[in-house]
């Protein structure tokens, strides 16, 4: 491929001429330093290239060479526990080679090509049998937590297995199998490259049916996300977007987590790096890091690589989904990705859409979220994998009319609205219960009925009804004062206080409270709703309000969060106490206080 010459440099955008063979979205090497760039526009022999590294010191006349390849990443054993920049360069490797700062022109493969993996073949394979992309050839125990399944990559054609894989230790470059596709013999290695902007193929898309359990009460009960679903967390700064994302990365019951720190703070990534190896997965007793891949393109790193980082993240996630795993991508924050698009668009002098964002912003966002889903994977065994995408949005001033928020809401099914008023009161997670929504309640209802409790939906609707009523009553109190409310209304306010303070409020830093299983969630909210029903009945019997407000059981409800997960009998006792303390005769005679 012939070399072109730079004619223009403007920030991360350069223009080169003489690029006669250039193709759109091809990767080019820029200048003697071989900086990595991607062609994003062509005019005759002029190529417009976004450069993924700092361009200072570049000038006209320097050479640009096309590589003939699209921006692609390496997929294979060695991905887990890695931390990459936006174009899959390992940051730990860069640190070891270049020190504390990211210097330019470092070329490093995403995977370690020297590392050897213990490979176990799929015993059912026979030499000479027909195989197609996606078929399992064997597996590598990549971490104690995860078996990395080795598949026939989608880059190869289906054909006859002429050399079947055998057990042994291999590097990712070793040929483990050969496939004869009508005379063309293809080598199969444990890794392959895939262009990040192209979704990986699947057999068929299905509707999500199982909740992604996060252990966060406000999410799992009121605004659940399904495995294979999409959600967004918009909120002003300081409302706790990142804490929500971190909680999900820690506790969500996915097999694999891909965390994309897109244009955010450096220290936040450091926090994840320091904390995750120490955090133990409750289900398996292994460090959570063993199921995690981190992509960190912090705000001060080159802006074009930030644009690429979300694609790098979701491509890695798709690869694990293809193995039949439940994968979750957490992207924090998609606003920074959109801003990177805006910056490139401005440099290209495109006509801007809303707020200076390019007109293609909504379609890019939709394309990204559409890569989520529950799917039958490629391969003859028909296994199912899911890919859930949760994107944070950072709208300016917390204003939800922001184009990025609006374009995102069009495509996602779950909306967790963070409210800064709640954050001021240190009510975390600061997910507003009246504005948030989830469209997955119906999808997952069968699962919930069978696996958790059939009364789940009923209790949820009752609790939400009370919270809505509370908003109206508060308005009224503001005008006429608390005393003018009826006893029934006073009890509602008392109940919703329990819902807010003892159920919705959840501390990420308290080890007992950070994660709550669905069964316990149900028992907690059930206790509050039962107490409310009992109080309503007591009021019908003309029990004085004061007595009901001072029921001793309220104190226990306030401490429910500290009940151990294996101690559900406590809740039976709690329901019994509610019954006794509000029972016919109990309150009037003062037994309740005893």
């Amino acid at each position: 491929m012939g070399a072109g010459r730079i004619i223009k440099v403007s920030g991360p955008l350069i223009v080169a001429e003489g690029m006669t063979e250039a193709r759109m979205f091809e990767v080019a090497r820029v200048s003697e330093k071989e900086l990595i760039g991607e062609i994003i526009e062509l005019h005759g022999d002029q190529a417009y290239i976004q450069v993924y590294e700092d361009t200072s010191g570049l000038g006209p006349g320097e050479k640009v060479v096309g590589t003939g390849q699209s921006l692609s990443i390496e997929l294979g054993p060695g991905l887990l526990e890695s931390i990459y920049d936006g174009i899959q360069r390992p940051l730990d490797g860069i640190y070891r080679r270049a020190g504390s700062y990211i210097t330019r022109g470092i070329n490093m493969p995403g995977l370690d090509h020297a590392r050897k993996f213990e490979f176990k073949p799929n015993g059912e394979l026979k030499e000479g049998q027909q195989v197609e992309p996606g078929d399992l050839l064997g597996q590598v125990r990549e971490t104690e937590l995860i078996d990395h399944r080795i598949m026939v990559p989608p880059t190869l054609k289906a054909g006859r297995l002429v050399k079947k894989p055998v057990a042994g230790t291999y590097t990712i470059d070793d040929v483990i199998a050969r496939i004869d596709a009508g005379g063309e013999v293809q080598d199969v290695r444990m890794h392959h490259r895939w262009p990040v902007r192209t979704p990986r193929p699947t057999a068929r898309k299905l509707v999500p049916e199982v909740p992604l359990v996060t252990g966060q009460r406000v999410i799992d009960l009121f605004f659940p996300i399904a495995k294979g679903g999409t959600a967004t967390v918009p909120g002003p700064f300081g409302a706790g977007k990142t804490v929500v994302q971190h909680q999900l990365a820690k506790w969500a019951d996915a097999n694999i987590i891909v965390y994309v720190g897109c244009g955010e703070r450096g220290n936040e990534m450091t926090d994840v790096l320091q904390e995750f190896p120490e955090l133990i997965d409750p289900a398996t007793n292994r460090p959570l890091m063993e199921r995690t891949v981190l992509i960190a393109n912090t705000s001060n790193m080159p802006v074009a690589a930030r644009e690429a980082s979300v694609y790098t993240g979701i491509t890695i996630a798709e690869y694990f989904r293809d193995m039949g795993y439940d994968v979750a991508v957490l992207a924090d924050s998609t606003s920074r990705w959109a801003e990177a698009m805006r910056e490139m668009s401005g440099r290209l002098e495109e006509m801007p859409g809303e707020e200076g964002y390019p007109a293609y912003l909504p379609s890019r966002i939709a394309d990204f979220y559409e890569r989520a889903g529950r799917t039958i994977c490629q391969g003859s065994d028909g296994r199912i994998g899911t890919l859930s995408v949760i994107g944070a949005v950072s709208p300016p001033g917390g204003d939800l009319s922001d184009p990025v928020v609006q374009a995102t809401l069009k495509v996602v099914k779950v909306f967790w609205a963070l409210e800064d008023q709640l954050a001021f009161e240190r009510h975390f997670p600061a997910i507003g219960w009246l504005t948030s929504y989830s469209l997955y309640h119906d999808n997952i209802s069968a699962y919930i009925r069978n696996e958790v409790d059939e009364r789940w939906a009923g209790v949820r609707v009752a609790a939400m009804g009370l919270l809505q009523k509370e908003a109206e009553l508060k308005e009224l109190v503001r005008l006429v004062g608390l005393d003018s409310l009826s006893d029934n209304d006073r009890i509602i306010l008392e109940t919703t206080k329990h819902i807010r303070e003892d159920f919705l409020h959840q501390s990420a830093f308290d080890p007992d409270d950070a994660y709550t299983r669905q069964v316990k969630q149900f028992r907690m909210i059930q206790a509050i709703v039962e107490l409310h029903r009992a109080c309503e009945k007591a009021i019908e019997r003309n029990i004085p309000l004061k007595k009901l407000l001072d029921l001793p059981v309220r104190e226990k409800i306030a401490r429910m969060r500290h009940v151990k997960e294996d101690d559900m009998a406590v809740f039976d006792g709690l329901l019994e106490e509610i019954r006794i303390q509000t029972a016919e005769g109990a309150v009037e005679t003062g037994k309740a206080e005893a």
Binding site: L58, P60, D271, L273, Q274, N300, P396, G397
Partner: protein, 474 residues
């Protein structure tokens, strides 16, 4: 060999366009020589074949098309550093402006720096005691953090920043510290307040000042924080010092950036600020923190803690400058006009203020075991007192319950005893927490929901708390 060009084609605002230039590179430093012999500096913003767009730091007044000479220096703007920069005063581009001797550079550093590899960072968790209760108690500053002060015109942010600089200390730590102070477009009087304060407290020999005053060239401000942070990085990571960087006022910096953007006829983002304002600010704010040592598991000596000060135009937190700053920095300290009118100093409104690194910087072994829970309880109680106050305005105080009244009293006492302190009052963290406990003593115990019983028993009653405090003094 440096070629000289006299091929200026256009001059607009702070920008100069040259033609027939070969071999200019992006971000290159240029020297502009005016007809009267005056020399100015600039940098290349864009190269398009032989046409080069240059931004002149000192402004374009007096530059002409016919005879002004431009030289391309083949490097970017650099700062000469050596241990001798301590105690010295520089202009916004990093040239000495005091009467001191010439600095013999140990090395020349590109003021743009390089992004820190997130893998090379160490998470900041060392408590800095500023002696100010509203910060130490509730919005704790941590070594290596970037914590801005959001202020408004006429509010005492300079006093607060100077007080932090004066009092900040890490209990039980002896490491050398330094202060790097960058003034961008502030008045002579404001700058002088800091300089006098440094001189009076004898801190001057540990301070490096970069001064760009309101009447200094506007575009020079774009280089000022970068020069200051380059000095800070040198002192911190090559000299092992703990550096506190004060950048004031970032709003002026952003306005200079907007001026250049408008002159380039770029498509503006919100309120005329360029779309890349977030990215640009992050290349300043992210130059803070702690680094790993050369070997795995080690922490390198030295740190950079940043306190940028910015005035919110019209006290509006959603203005692009505070908004984007808040998204990058690790929290914010917000000054409030209502508190200021009540005569409370420092007028810190704790509710919207936040320190994101607080929870890992406090607790047993760092400050005190009860710190986090006391802070959360104070936050929610103060928030509640504000709600009650609103209620009282509508309904009158008579309509309040006893509990409501207790909260209202707590709110007032909180502002008066906890937030308010004197300009030279330096409280220890124990003093701050015990004021907090005293305030919590005013509300019914069942309302203290965010503190474990164990701590309530230990610290709440005046006697127990006092006893504990006495113990700690010993």
């Amino acid at each position: 060999m440096v070629t000289e060009y006299t091929t200026i084609r256009e001059i607009a605002g702070p920008l100069v366009l040259l033609e027939n230039v070969d071999h200019a590179t992006y971000e290159e430093l240029v020297e502009v020589e005016l007809p009267n012999g005056e020399q100015r500096r600039g940098k290349v913003l864009e190269v398009n074949r032989d046409r080069v767009l240059v931004q002149v730091f000192e402004g374009t007044r007096g530059i002409d098309v016919a005879s002004t000479k431009v030289r391309f220096l083949g490097r970017s703007l650099e700062l000469a550093v050596s241990p001798d920069i301590l105690g010295r005063i520089f202009n916004g581009l990093g040239r000495p402006i005091d009467d001191g001797p010439k600095i013999i550079p140990e090395k020349m550093l590109d003021i743009n720096g390089s992004p820190i590899n997130p893998y090379a960072r160490v998470y900041p968790q060392e408590f800095i005691q500023t002696g100010i209760s509203a910060i130490d108690g509730l919005n704790t500053l941590v070594r290596g953090q970037k914590l801005p002060i959001f202020s408004g015109f006429g509010l005492p942010h300079s006093e607060l920043a100077a007080q932090i600089a004066r009092q900040a200390s890490v209990p039980r730590s002896e490491s050398p510290f330094a202060i790097v102070f960058a003034a961008m477009g502030i008045t002579f009087e404001e700058a002088n307040y800091f300089i006098r304060d440094f001189q009076e407290t004898g801190a001057m020999e540990r301070v490096v000042l970069f001064i760009n005053l309101a009447n200094d060239p506007t575009i020079e401000r774009i280089a000022t924080p970068r020069a200051a942070l380059t000095a800070a990085e040198y002192l911190a990571f090559e000299r092992g010092m703990h550096v506190l960087v004060i950048l004031t006022d970032m709003t002026n910096y952003c306005e200079a950036l907007r001026e250049v953007s408008v002159a380039r006829k770029e498509i503006p983002g919100r309120r005329g600020y360029p779309g890349y304002l977030y990215t640009d600010l992050s290349t300043i704010y992210e130059r803070a923190g702690l680094l790993k040592g050369d070997r795995e598991g080690e922490v390198r000596e030295g740190s950079i803690t940043q306190i940028p000060v910015l005035s919110m135009p019209d006290d509006d937190k959603t203005h692009p400058i505070p908004d984007l700053t808040g998204y990058i920095t690790e929290g914010q300290i917000i000054l409030d006009r209502v508190l200021h009118r009540k005569g409370i100093y420092p007028p810190i409104n704790v509710l919207p203020s936040l320190s994101r690194l607080r929870d890992k910087g406090i607790g047993a072994g760092r400050t005190r075991e009860d710190h986090a829970q006391v802070a959360n309880q104070l936050f929610s109680s103060y928030a509640r007192s504000k709600e009650v106050e609103e209620l009282a305005v509508v309904l009158g105080e008579a309509a309040l319950t006893d509990t409501d009244r207790a909260f209202m009293a707590l709110g007032q006492a909180f502002e008066d005893k906890f937030v308010r302190q004197a300009l030279d009052e330096n409280r220890t963290i124990e003093e701050t927490l015990s004021i907090g406990w005293k305030l919590l003593g005013g509300i019914p115990r069942p309302e203290i929901k965010r503190i474990k019983d164990e701590f309530i028993d230990r610290y709440l009653s005046g006697g127990a708390a006092g006893g504990k405090k006495a113990e700690e003094r010993k």
